[in-house]
Amino acid sequence: MVSRLERLLNLTAALLTATRPLSRGELHERVPGYPPDDAKGSFRRAFERDKEALRDMGIPVVVEEIAGVDPPVDGYRIPRDQYALRDPGLEPDELAAIHLAAAAVQLEGLRGTEALWKLGGAPAVTADDQTLAAIPTIPALAPLFAAVGERRPVTFGYRGQVRTVDPHRLSFARGHWYLDGYDHDRQALRQFRLDRLEGELDVGPPASFERPLPGEGGAPRPWEMGEEAPVEARVHVDADLAGWAVDHLGPEALAATHGDGSVEVTLRVTNREAFRSFVIGFLDHAEILAPEELREDLVGWLTALAG
């Protein structure tokens, strides 16, 4: 009795060593353990199940028409160059560091164990088993990562519209995943929040575009995620929250420091509503100094609420 594991391993070996596509009939002869190839179709079903199992684990089983046969017959093989992982040439300390990182960072629903096996397994390292960071994921993330690597355009729904984008980069910031890329319809670089993707993700052909060099800065802030005429806002923040504001906005936002420990920060605003929300977060510990337009907007908003 041949076990299923043995059959799968022999099937993999047969497909990997094939110098030409092998028909189902040839595979039935060469791989022990299949049921008879009879009219009930039990061999065919078992073979289809095995083929899907191999594909599920990422083995590239390709289907090609066998040459010189009439009527045409499908043949199967695993191209070795598509099967094999190129050796990244990791030093032992590099593999150990990657292993530690995979142990410390919990990526919801993604497991690094099998990937680490492929790189040579877990070297003897002392990991304190404490999770250092938990990062949520969404189903589109892995296909988008592949599309970035293979430079394939992607198409998806976003805010009720269909968008086609050359995906350049994925980033995780402030608790959300974003995609940066070139939007074909807008003909401009755009950023998309991935938890707002709608519908199916369609992936185009590989090597379709050149990736630009990475730009400066990470994901834009909410008050930068708009298409309003940009304005530079100046905000005074009291000493109690000054340190937090500078850490949060980055040192480049710091415009002045006062003797009492309070600071003035500047922000480039293209979304006034998001800017108002940000300033409200400080309650009465901050004040918009300029421009007058934004100051009046907030005063008007609050006056209506103060009753």
Partner: protein, 321 residues
């Protein structure tokens, strides 16, 4: 179930066989440790590899497995000399975990993790540090490192902390238990001697930090592993019921709700647990006219709006004189 087990074992074998093939007789012990299996499992898997090969399954077309003196050799498996390529999920798992670990304050940007990730990225066709970028959260310089050091050394610390929900600053002695990043923020889980209870502190709101020359007084009862969601309402928290316009749907996406009721035309009613007044003030001021009715929040909006306005009026008054 036999099926998933066979798939899982095959995945492991397709990684294990190339590793052994490339070496001159590693010990069984090392193979077990690297690939996370017991020696019985390993021997069972190797017995099976021994039966495998290619047509016509004559001895010279079978994989040869030799186990002797606690070591193992695998030969005639040159078609399995390389491991299977990484799936997109696997590549992403390693690259994202690595990018996150490099984003931890104090990580060495030129260390083995960075160089290892660069090599891995090259194999995956992406530029290192380019395809995936991870920001774990803002933190004052040196604070995450100091807190992790105090956790490891089991030392008490004194922090100057801004409590956002109550809008007040205080100094408190805490026993640090865990430091972790979730939802775009760094957190410290600790026993707070001021509150006399376990508390979760946002690290970006810690303004001063002193590691004390005292061991922690309390050890956590259970490990406080981070969750991807960090807000846990308490049963005694007051409840607020808000009727909201359709445009305020983000409230339902962003906050854990006790209840959500559709009111028609896109309008909806939410029930929120509110433990801190300042938190509710911010929410109500942000929502503004999108709130058409509020129960359990009498005078909160008006009071908060008037307080912030007073600040703007002071300056207007002083500018006028």
């Amino acid at each position: 179930m036999a099926r998933p087990a066979a798939d899982a074992r095959l995945r492991r074998l397709l990684a294990l066989v190339p590793w052994v093939v490339a070496r001159d007789g590693p010990t069984l012990e090392e193979v077990c440790a690297r690939f996370g299996l017991g020696s019985d499992e390993l021997v069972a898997d190797l017995d099976l590899v021994f039966l495998c090969g290619v047509h016509p399954f004559t001895p010279d077309s079978l994989i040869e497995v030799v186990i002797a003196d606690g070591r193992v050799w695998i030969r005639y498996a040159d078609y399995l000399e390389r491991p299977l390529r990484l799936t997109p999920e696997e590549g992403l798992a390693l690259v994202a975990a690595g990018a996150a670990a490099l984003a931890v304050p104090g990580a060495d940007p030129q260390g083995p993790l960075a160089t290892g990730l660069a090599k891995l990225a090259a194999v995956l066709g992406v530029e290192p540090g380019d395809a995936v970028d991870v920001e774990l959260g803002p933190a004052p310089e040196g604070v995450v490192e100091a807190l992790r050091g105090a956790v490891a050394a089991r030392r008490q610390i004194e922090i100057d902390y801004y409590a956002y929900g109550r809008d007040e600053r205080s100094r408190r002695v805490v026993d640090p238990h865990t430091v972790f990043a979730a939802e775009g923020q760094w957190y410290l889980q600790a026993y707070c001697h001021l509150a006399e209870n376990d508390r979760r502190f946002r690290i970006d709101r810690i303004r001063g930090l002193e590691v004390l020359d005292r061991p922690v007084a309390r050890v956590p009862a259970e490990s406080t592993a981070p969750a991807t969601s960090v807000f846990e309402p308490r049963p005694g928290d007051p409840r607020v019921v808000l009727d909201l316009e359709a445009g305020a749907r983000w409230v339902a996406e962003q906050y854990p709700l006790e209840a959500l009721e559709e009111l028609g035309g896109g309008r909806f009613r939410v029930t929120l647990a509110v433990s801190e007044r300042a938190w509710l003030e911010r929410l109500l001021l942000r929502l503004g006219p999108a709130v058409t009715a509020a129960r359990g929040a009498d005078g909160v909006t008006e009071g908060a709006a008037a307080r912030v306005l007073a600040r703007y009026r002071r300056r207007l008054a002083s500018a006028g004189t």
